[in-house]
């Protein structure tokens, strides 16, 4: 459903993403991993329209979407979450999600928006009470709200920027199960970004590994985790890589 070809993003003289191509099949969960600064979030930002690619094409459901503004991309059916939750604190939990339902689906219908908000909140396990304030939510709750907002936009493809760093083991498992449930029950295809390999590998169908803006490996989780280039990036064969991996472990 999504075909990305030769995607490049340069910021001045720095190339954040260099000639990355990949495809996403309907109904799969694709994991996108790589160390900090490897270009994962930059790819997400191009897919969701936050900024246009310097070169390359992004074809979604047969039509070109590269360079479209974010609201048009969302209306075509690509929803996203942010790595650090970005709730609207001046709105209630319900209003946060209803807003996404109203504008994200492009239908601008209040009835549909409220309906989408009810369903999305129930799906992620947040209260559908209209008065509940965002201030009452903890780290895990805010991540759920972030997901609910994305689901309410009625996506066919969900870009989940799920950094699970701040969560404990149980919460990580719950978050992973949630993504699988979203795919299974709502039929939403998912690209899941994460720097830590562990939890992700148990859930995804396929994995793609980025390093320094380039794709270094792609395939089934078991194959990718034994790929020497991936091992080098994550575990390191030289001092530099070891340092990076150690920094990763501390997070």
């Amino acid at each position: 459903m999504l075909v990305v070809n030769g995607l490049v993003k340069r910021f001045g003289g720095f190339t954040a993403v260099n000639n990355v191509s990949f495809e996403v099949e309907q109904g799969e969960i694709l994991g996108l991993i790589g160390p900090n600064g490897s270009g994962k979030s930059t790819i997400f930002n191009m897919l969701s329209g936050t900024f246009p690619p310097s070169a390359g094409t992004i074809t979604f459901d047969g039509s070109e979407i590269a360079g479209l503004p974010p609201h048009k991309i969302i209306n075509r059916g690509i929803g996203r979450t942010f790595q650090i939750p970005r709730p609207f604190r001046r709105l209630t939990i319900f209003e946060n999600v209803a807003l996404a339902g109203y504008y994200g689906q492009g239908s601008h219908s209040l009835a549909k928006a409220n309906d989408a908000a009810e369903k999305a909140l129930t799906m992620v396990g947040l209260p559908t009470d209209r008065q509940a304030s965002v201030d009452g939510l903890g780290a895990a709750g805010l991540k759920k709200l972030e997901l609910a907002k994305a689901i309410a936009t009625g996506p066919k493809l969900l870009l989940a920027d799920e950094s699970l760093g701040g969560l404990d083991e149980t919460e990580m498992d719950q978050a992973a199960d949630m993504l699988r449930k979203i795919r299974d029950e709502l039929g939403i295809t998912i690209i899941w970004v994460e720097h830590i390999m562990g939890v992700l590998m148990r859930v995804v169908d396929r994995v793609m590994v980025l390093d320094h803006g380039e794709k270094i490996s792609e395939g089934l989780p078991s194959a990718v985790s034994s790929d020497p280039r991936v091992v080098e990036v994550y575990l390191g064969t030289d001092a530099h890589a070891t340092q990076a991996a150690a920094a990763e472990a501390r997070r």
């Binding site: 969701s48 329209g49 936050t50 503004p69 974010p70 609201h71 969302i74 209306n75 929803g79 996203r80 942010f82 970005r86 709730p87 609207f88 604190r89 001046r90 709105l91 209630t92 209003e95 209803a98 807003l99 996404a100 109203y102 504008y103 994200g104 689906q105 492009g106 601008h108 209040l110 928006a113 304030s133 907002k149 994305a150 936009t153």
Partner: protein, 324 residues
């Protein structure tokens, strides 16, 4: 009577009393003050349409000046009736708002930088009025010609009662527009935008379009306020309807009254106009300009100690359970 029913009835009773007022109380000076309060309340409400969403414009003096001067110039030079001139003036102000705001919103000029760009707009409109003194009378001011025909067609009335009712009607419409925005989904979108533009865009909101929409609505309303002021006073000068001082006065009044509540700008207008009149009567010509000094000091005090304004803070005390 239940509380909800009571709250539904109150606006109608107050409205009826306001309409009936000039028929039972005819003191021309007090009616004059009331007309000024209503016109400025409408102007301040127009400003806070966008100001409440963090779009702090210091360019509204410019929109007000365009509303007043375009209407008067069309009337004096081309004989265009205000009934047509005012809509033209409003469209001019709306176009000006688009020209200034579109690049700002497109290139993400927000917060302080947006305020600075709009500040320049105020200055430019003031300079243009002063520079084209052959047409506008420059800093000496400008007077629309007295009509020799129908007062209604020229929108020139000598009695205060008519003006009071016109100003009351326009002010009421301003409050209705406020309420319409407040209850629409646009309000949520604009609140979201004011907190985080990227996150709002990720929820599907067309950020540039939503901001432009509210800016143009605000500019159109402000221009109408300027035109009404001109028709009522029959004298305008760059200092009273345009320029930075007028823009700042709007910000001050709204902050004092309450930026997030519908009647906040009205409370602000009551306070600022009473203050100016009080100083004028109390100290006469010795106190010319003192009101600006008092505004300045009060503005600092309010922003620090009462950022929600008088009405906003009062309402919060009365119902502590409200969201704001």
């Amino acid at each position: 009577m239940s509380l909800v029913a009571f709250r539904q009835v109150v606006p109608w009773i107050v409205g009826a009393m306001l309409i009936a007022l000039p028929f039972v109380y005819r003191d021309p000076y007090h009616l004059h003050i009331l007309v000024l309060i209503l016109i400025w309340s409408f102007a301040y409400t127009s400003w806070s349409m966008m100001g409440r969403f963090g779009l702090v414009s210091l360019g509204h003096g410019g929109f007000m000046g365009v509303g007043a001067y375009v209407t008067a110039l069309l009337w004096n030079h081309l004989g265009v009736l205000p009934w047509i001139g005012i809509p033209i003036a409003m469209v001019c102000a709306g176009a000006l708002a688009l020209i200034v705001a579109y690049p700002c919103f497109r290139f993400r000029i927000t917060g302080h930088y947006f305020a600075l760009v709009t500040l320049a707009l105020s200055g430019i409109v003031l300079q243009i009025i002063t520079a084209t003194r052959d047409y506008t009378g420059g800093s000496l001011g400008y007077t629309p010609d007295r009509t020799k025909g129908s007062h209604l067609a020229a929108l020139q009335f000598d009695d205060k009662t008519t003006w009071y009712l016109i100003a009351l009607g326009v002010w009421g419409v301003g409050l209705l527009i406020w309420r319409w925005v407040d209850r629409s989904m646009d309000r949520y979108a604009l609140e979201a935008i004011s907190e985080d533009e990227d996150a709002a865009a990720a929820a599907g909101v067309n950020v540039t379009f939503e901001k432009l929409k509210i800016t143009v609505i605000s500019a159109l309303m402000t221009a109408l306020a300027g035109a009404l002021y001109c028709q009522y006073q029959m004298f305008i000068s760059p200092d009273t309807v345009s320029g930075i001082a007028v823009s700042l006065q709007m910000v001050f009044a709204v902050v004092v009254g309450g930026i997030y509540v519908a009647l906040g700008p009205t409370v602000g207008a009551i306070i600022t106009i009473m203050l100016a009149e009080g100083l004028r009567i109390g100290f006469g010509t010795k106190a010319v300009g003192y009101d600006n000094l008092v505004y300045g000091v009060l503005l600092v005090v309010f922003i620090i100690f009462l950022p929600k304004g008088i009405l906003g803070s009062l309402l919060e005390r009365i119902k502590p359970s409200s969201k704001r």
